[in-house]
Amino acid sequence: MEANAKLMSMTDAVKKYVHDGAVISFGGFSATQCPMAAAHEIIRQGVKDLHVVVCSNGQAVDELVGAGCVAGIELAYGGNGRFASTCFRFRSAAQSGELKVEDYSNYHMTLRFMAGAMGMPFLPTYSGLGTDIVKKWRYGEEDRRHDPRLPVKKLVLMGNPFNRNGGGEQVLLVPALMPDVTIIHAQKADVLGNARITGLIYADVEQAKAAKNLIITCEEIVETDELRKDPELNQILGFQVSAVVKVPWGSYPCAVYGCYDYDPWFLRDFYPKVAKDDSEWRKYLDAYVYGVANREEFLNLIGMERVERLRADKTIGYNPVLNRS
């Protein structure tokens, strides 16, 4: 294999690994480290009927749902923190019933990815016992029998075979997730796919390892020898990676620790206005997603001057003079 055979354009990576009907997972958490450049390319390529599995994703999920790419979603939280505690297109699609939402908790989803990453069929937890998250299933057993993308059961309650002296008599098993493709956005990667996420890692590493195919989008491509200097900090191993895509500002309008801040203008002023209104939303997609060929054109449309103002102070990881009020 060529040493840099995995290095490709976003267009090629999405074309090669994101198919109609795929089970897909996105890294990041709320308004940080969402793989937004990848999400836009998926919208642009008109991928349909995706089944999305995430922990607490905001912006990427909202735009994909709004663009009609998503048929169903299993998640814990769909929001952007205090910018948009519930994502707008996600909310309206869930309310209209056009989007099927299967609810789990953050721990459930994390454990499900971890089970996939570790090659286990399930993981046990006590979280959720007695709640409607256990009792109410959006996908019934019949749906599940016919759709191989879904686990045969939402979750399973079992007796604890190691129980001694009361307590912990029953336990919940949550089924493993093995997405057809996971996309995560890292600060640094090499051409082989070895990658480093700096700062919080959310459930990115579990999501990455659980995947059948893994696309790493990154701010910067570095030499492998640079990554070797701090091996404890490299969470993603090249041999688990299918594609590496270099895309600076790839998470904008979301933040990337140590690289750039979130954009309060986009998240608080601009996006809610377009996302809350169906015709504005259509215009947004036409201009900002379908109307551009790639990330560079999108950023130019936003305005590089605006974008550059988000650049982080390297020491503290964000922009301390950003106007957030």
């Binding site: 709320s30 308004a31 940080t32 480290q33 607490s56 998640l75 814990a76 939280y77 769909g78 923190g81 205090r82 910018f83 505690s85 519930t86 996600f90 909310r91 869930a94 309310q95 209209s96 019933g97 939402v101 609810d103 908790s105 953050n106 721990y107 459930h108 994390t110 006590y126 979280s127 959720g128 016992l129 007695g130 709640t131 409607d132 998250i133 109410k136 307590g167 912990g168 008599e169 029953q170 336990v171 700062g199 919080l200 890692i201 959310y202 459930a203 990115d204 590493v205 579990e206 933040a255 620790y257 801040d261 979130y262 982080a312 503290i316 990881g317 964000y318 301390p320 957030r324 009020s325």
Partner: protein
């Protein structure tokens, strides 16, 4: 009643209950301010963490989400969800964890709905989802709730039970196999509630200056015991000063 906002009152009511040996799992917003205030006023040893994976934060600017870069700088630990949520289920740390939650609906047993109104499969209103709230309610040593009073929120039966309180009463958590201690306080904009040791039902513990028990009961769909209620001590000058100048100097949470 001049001199402090009800939001500030809520933060201080919570802060006063946090002890030095507690481990507080925070959300952003007012629950975070309560933990910070406790740390700066009476409980310097308190540990603070967030479900996104940050432990022992030392931020200079108020974070707006659990993954805001502002939450990361200067922490003692940056990891991820698996690590932080496992602290809840861990037998040694879990019982010491206090967490403060919000919700859309609550019932007399402290069960919460943070996810949707109406039928869960085609909801009238869909919220973001329970995130870590189900995990916290299930596993943490205790949880507290921050909510504004109102008949739409304090309901007979929650539409979608996403965070377990005492379920249907005494002994129900144990029967379900939940390891955590369940709800301990409900801190509203007008009053603070606790739960009866025997019945596990919510009762009025204190009302804020300017409000009466009867008026508070009017804003709830279920009847609570009012007989144990006392008037709450308003925030002191010192408490307010710390809260305003050291916990949220940019007024990102405590709006003018």
């Amino acid at each position: 009643m001049a001199g402090y906002s009800l939001q500030e009152m809520m933060a201080i009511i919570a802060a006063r209950e946090i002890k030095d040996t507690d481990i507080v799992l925070c959300g952003t917003g007012i629950s975070m301010l309560a933990a910070l205030a406790a740390q700066k006023i009476t409980a310097p040893g308190v540990s603070i963490f967030f479900e996104s994976g940050v432990v022992d934060v030392k931020f200079a600017q108020t974070p707006l989400s659990l993954a805001d870069p502002r939450i990361m700088n200067g922490a003692i630990r940056l990891a991820g969800l698996a690590e932080s949520l496992s602290l809840l289920q861990n037998h040694t740390t879990g019982p010491n964890v206090i967490s403060i939650l919000g919700a859309a609906q609550i019932d007399i047993y402290g069960n919460l709905n943070s996810t949707s109104i109406g039928d869960f499969s085609k909801p009238k209103v869909r919220f973001s989802g329970s995130g870590g709230a189900c995990d916290i309610g299930s596993l943490a040593g205790q949880f507290w709730v921050f909510m504004d009073l109102g008949k739409k929120r304090f309901v007979e039966k929650v539409d979608y039970l996403t965070t377990p309180g005492f379920l249907d009463g005494a002994g129900a958590r144990e029967r379900a196999g939940l390891p955590g201690g369940g709800p301990a306080m409900v801190i509203t904009n007008k009053a603070c509630f606790r739960f009866d040791d025997a019945s596990k039902k919510m009762y009025l513990h204190s009302f804020y200056p300017g409000f009466t028990p009867e008026a508070i009961q009017e804003e709830m769909c279920f009847q609570v015991d009012l007989s144990r209620a006392k008037e709450a001590e308003p925030p002191t000058e010192h408490e307010l000063h710390i809260l305003r100048t050291e916990c949220d100097p940019e007024r990102m949470v405590l709006k003018g």
